[in-house]
Amino acid sequence: MYKYDQWDQAMVDARVAEFRDQCQRRIEGKLTEDQFKPLRLMNGLYLQLHAYMLRVAIPYGTLSGAQMRALGDIADKFDRKYGHFTTRQNIQYNWIKLEDAGDILAALAKVEMHAIQTSGNCIRNISSDHFAGAAADEVVDPRPYAELLRQWSSFHPEFSYLPRKFKFAVIASETDRAAMRLHDIGINIVRNDAGELGAAFYVGGGMGRTPMIAPLINGFVPLDRLITYAEACLRVYNRYGRRDNKYKARIKILVHELGAEEYTRQVEEEFALLLAQNIEPPFAELERIRTYFEDPAFAADAPDELDRSDPDFAVWSDRNTHPHKAPGYVSAVISLKPVGGIPGDATADQMRLMADLAGEYSFDECRVTHTQNIVLPHVRKADLFALWQKLEAAGLGTPNLDQVGDIIACPGLDYCSLANARSIPIAQQISQRFAANGKGEILGELKLKISGCINACGHHHAGHIGILGVDKKGVENYQLSLGGSEAEDTSLGKITGRGFDEAGIVDAVETSVDVYLAQRQNGERFLDTYRRIGMEPFKEALYG
């Protein structure tokens, strides 16, 4: 794992001091709320429906045990003993007092964490593959490149007042577990025919009210030009991205309006000019960062067999583990989606337990997934049963990874000032419905995602089944969409037709699932069946 040196620590400490000063000036009236707002937002502090919300950055979703423990302690001391893991691999605290914000940032700084640029029209936390450094199928660990981008984007002097927020994802495998092409910039670290590593840049993806899949603009940027190329992409956006309408201000609109070819031409032109400026970090810095992500000391003789005699354990290990590059190991996924629970929430006690388990079983490391679960990346198969027993005892053993109950949901109208409808109760009712009727057990992979407004924080466009909450003359109404995917076969869902009320949307999901169960062939997934048979049979069943 990456460790701060004196420089990184000094930057974060300076930020804590700066934010305390800004809060003080707000209290003294030297800053108006309008002037204070963008400053607190660049420190992740939002004013929500009921209280301040603080969003803490978890760079590329990687946490040490000590960091996870500190997150639990903050939940205890400053919030209502829980926190909410987000689709950007971050954590949010929903019940924060303004006067505590400085102390929370100081507590985070002690464990090399911060809330820098977790909101505002700037470059946000860099996300990545939650199985990075562990997955059997990766080309290389993508996190050193994400860390280099983290440093470059922190307090960037030119790009702190962009037209709109800006999100990077960095992966390094053909399999996309990070919704890479639905980011402002998605980077896939690839190897060319000569065996050299480079970065494929996909620019202009995103969800929100105008979802778009990012086109490839450069298939191979050499790694010793990575930062310069990113700077060129951002500069073209900062200069020419629309600022007249916040709903058209994301880079996806610029790329769409210019066309990918013209945007690329402008980037390449800027890139040529920037190369002469010599702004790229020394390659030795990338090499230094890489040393922090070297493999932990995997046991060479770790047994590869698994005792599957406990049937419940066998189900959990089939569903909630992922193949590891080291023989005798797996990555284990801790579901934060218990039946009827709030997706992504964890209590302070659960966070501390996960910290302990990371120390005991996973080289003191855990990850946050964009699907709002927690990964222990390096678990010996021989330890898996003991781990599962401890998770079960703490309510963390739900065997539903990528199943219908593993729902992404935004905070919705229960917390969020932007929401039009509640998301959490819909997620709870759907997971309860499919647990009670037993169908959840036979569906296989089915990714269901719920957003409480058109901003799409719940990734509904990318759900095999997506639900969007809207306000219809003061009543919550839910649109159903089918056929989205955030994986390497990226696609955007299509709306089935008119929306449903709260009870109706749960029935509509079940009706859609019944169409799938009646039509599926040869073990295909819901998404495969939908792609094969199209929308009509679903429409027919839903609307008659």
Binding site: D5, W7, D8, A10, M11, A14, A17, E18, D21, Q22, R25, K30, Q35, P38, L39, N121, Q151, W152, S154, F155, H156, P157, E158, F159, S160, Y161, L162, R235, N238, R239, R243, L273, L274, Q277, N278, I279, P281, P282, A284, E285, R288
Partner: protein, 145 residues
Amino acid sequence: MVDLAQTILRFRDDTPVSDPAVTVEAFTGQSNALAVRIEPGEDARSLLPNLERIRLVEVNFPAFGDGRGYSAARVLREAGYTGELRAVGDVLVDQIGHMRRCGFDAFQPDQPLDAGDVEIALSRWPEVYQATTDGRVPIWNLRHG
């Protein structure tokens, strides 16, 4: 006449240009203007052919959240412009650190800045991560000598 030294925070030793800044359009149409003002949507690169005769570029920030002026400043400095680069308009103390890094060396804010707050803001960051034309050595170069 307003005393410029009273309203402009400068980080230069030369005498301020007293000529009024003309618009980019007017500037390209006349050959003797020394001072020009860039509005957010205008292309700083259009000044490059005449860079040598410019002594003052004002970059207007009608609203502090419109960050196009940061790129305009860097584009000019990267092209070798050494004259005064002045941020005018909705310029607040919390932005001037970034503005200095992008090459601004003078500030003419709509609302006067508190000198103490300015000093704190400019001394806040011990080091920087990125390379710009301001000559500061990025952390990653400090690490590798």
